[in-house]
């Protein structure tokens, strides 16, 4: 059953559509993920999960655009939020 939304084909994160338990498999409803991705921790509704590995300094892409850069190693299935993603625009003040 579909439990996450990838908004743009280039996105390397998806947004979960309801609270996910650890080890749940991401289902985008269209079979778009070639490798299955299981979430590594509980993910609350509306939060982001990586569907690809993202190295520190690499852009996190949602809506087909950069929403900031990774500041830690992000593995597929990791929760992506304040602990591993930093704003570029907000920090460049």
């Amino acid at each position: 059953m579909t439990n996450a939304l990838r908004i743009h084909p280039q996105d390397n994160v998806v947004t979960v559509l309801h609270d996910l338990e650890p080890d749940s498999t991401i289902d985008l409803g269209d079979g778009a993920l070639s490798e299955p991705v299981a979430v590594r921790e509980a993910i609350p509704f509306g939060h982001k999960v990586a569907i690809r590995a993202i190295a520190p300094g690499e852009h996190v892409v949602k809506y087909g655009a950069s929403i900031g850069v990774a500041v830690a190693d992000i593995r597929p299935g990791d929760h992506v939020h304040l602990h591993n993603l930093r704003s570029v625009r907000g920090a460049a003040r």
Binding site: K48, K62, I67, R93
Partner: protein, 389 residues
């Protein structure tokens, strides 16, 4: 219905289409607001412009109010205006009435100090408003092309569903309206900070791109000059709990409202659009002040996405509420017009809901009442350029 390319509107003598027949009751200062409110509440079809300035403010604020109020008096949904003046305010009520009188619809000036108090003013105003509505009552709706419409886009009370469901659905709606030749206005400059480059890349030409980037830069500089750490406060703690991490992410979720079409113009606050397609208007994120700017620009309807649930409306432009939050739709259904939560349940696509918003917008333009209209919402605010003294 979704393939309709016309709506049932009122053809005005100046060639524009209207979607409501309203008498605008416009106080020229806060001291005349109560009398104006009594007139509007006594006459169905009389719409209160809830303006409380007009005195003890900077010349810039008074000039802005004069401009915006006169545009509201010439709104395409207005068939007559009453300017209710106290008689000693700074805002020039005679000038306001004269500017409204440059349009096709009648205008009357009522000066409380000359007429002799609240009661006589209300009696006279009530009579005049009824006469103006009676004069318009014979007019029949007729098919009008969608290209006659000006549509404002707004969001407020956002949550995690806004950028996932309601905003992208509104973007799909915007694309459909633009394809039919309508004038669509994206607004809220402060919400754009962090995604302005995305929108600038879609500018129809370099002049539009430069004006867009300058407008956002000026907004950011203005906020910085007040001492507010605007970017440092984005996203808000509530946004962060909802899953938003960065200001870019929040702004990108906001800019989805404008769909994918080129940005054809950048408008000042309240400035009417002249070019078909998607324009950007410089308005604040404050929902009341932003929707007032959209209405002053002649928006026939405003589509408003909300996650947490915002009940506001507008006196002249019907406001259509869209929420992607099933909980909000269930609890605040009286205030909502469209449930977009099917996107969150993966039951509907952005395009599906975009088509539903378009269908309802044309029904509303043809006379169907919105939730905010049924409840009598007439929220109003202007941006403030200086202090009140």
């Amino acid at each position: 219905m979704t393939n309709e390319t016309t709506f049932q509107g009122f053809r005005r003598p100046d060639g524009r289409a209207g979607v409501r027949n309203l008498v605008a009751v416009i106080p020229s200062c806060g001291c005349a607001l109560h009398a104006a409110r009594l007139i509007a509440s006594a006459v169905p079809g009389a719409a209160l412009i809830d303006y409380a300035g007009g005195c003890g403010e900077t010349e810039d604020d008074t000039a802005l109010a004069l401009q915006l109020l006169s545009q509201l008096g010439r709104h395409p949904n207005v068939v007559g205006s009453l300017v209710v003046s106290l008689g000693c305010e700074t805002l020039n009520a005679g000038e306001l009435a004269a500017r409204i009188g440059q349009g096709w619809a009648p205008v009357e000036l009522l000066v409380i100090q000359q007429i002799g108090g609240t009661r006589r003013t209300v009696d006279r105003g009530t009579l005049l408003a009824r006469q103006m509505l009676d004069a318009a009552a014979g007019q029949r709706r007729e098919p009008c092309p969608v290209s006659d419409l000006i549509v404002g886009l707004e969001c407020g009370g956002s949550d995690a569903t806004s950028g996932l469901a309601a905003n992208p659905a509104m973007g799909a709606f915007s694309d459909l309206m633009v394809a039919d030749g309508a004038k669509v206005i994206l607004a809220e400059t402060s919400e754009l900070v962090g995604a302005e480059h995305i929108l600038a890349e879609r500018a129809a030409n370099t002049d539009v791109a430069e004006r867009l980037l300058r407008t956002v830069a000026e907004c950011e500089a203005f906020l910085k000059a007040t001492g507010e750490d605007f970017l440092g406060k984005q996203p808000s703690p509530g946004n962060q709990r909802g899953g938003l991490t960065t200001v870019e992410e929040k702004a990108l979720g906001d800019v989805l409202k404008g769909g994918t079409t080129p940005v054809v113009d950048v408008l000042r606050y309240g400035e009417p659009p002249t070019v078909p397609g998607l324009s950007f208007m410089d308005t604040p994120g404050n929902d009341l002040a932003s929707v007032t700017g959209l209405a002053a620009a002649g928006s026939h309807v405003v589509v408003f996405t909300t996650g947490r649930g915002n009940p506001m409306g507008n006196a002249l432009a019907p406001v259509i509420k869209v929420t992607g939050n099933a909980h909000t739709y269930a609890r605040m259904g009286d205030d909502m017009d469209i449930d977009a939560s099917g996107i969150i349940r993966a039951e509907e696509t952005f395009a599906d809901v975009g088509r539903r918003i378009r269908a309802l917008s044309l029904e509303v333009a043809s006379g169907r009442q919105t939730a905010a209209e049924a409840l009598g919402h007439v929220e109003f605010a202007l941006i403030r350029l200086g202090p009140v003294y």
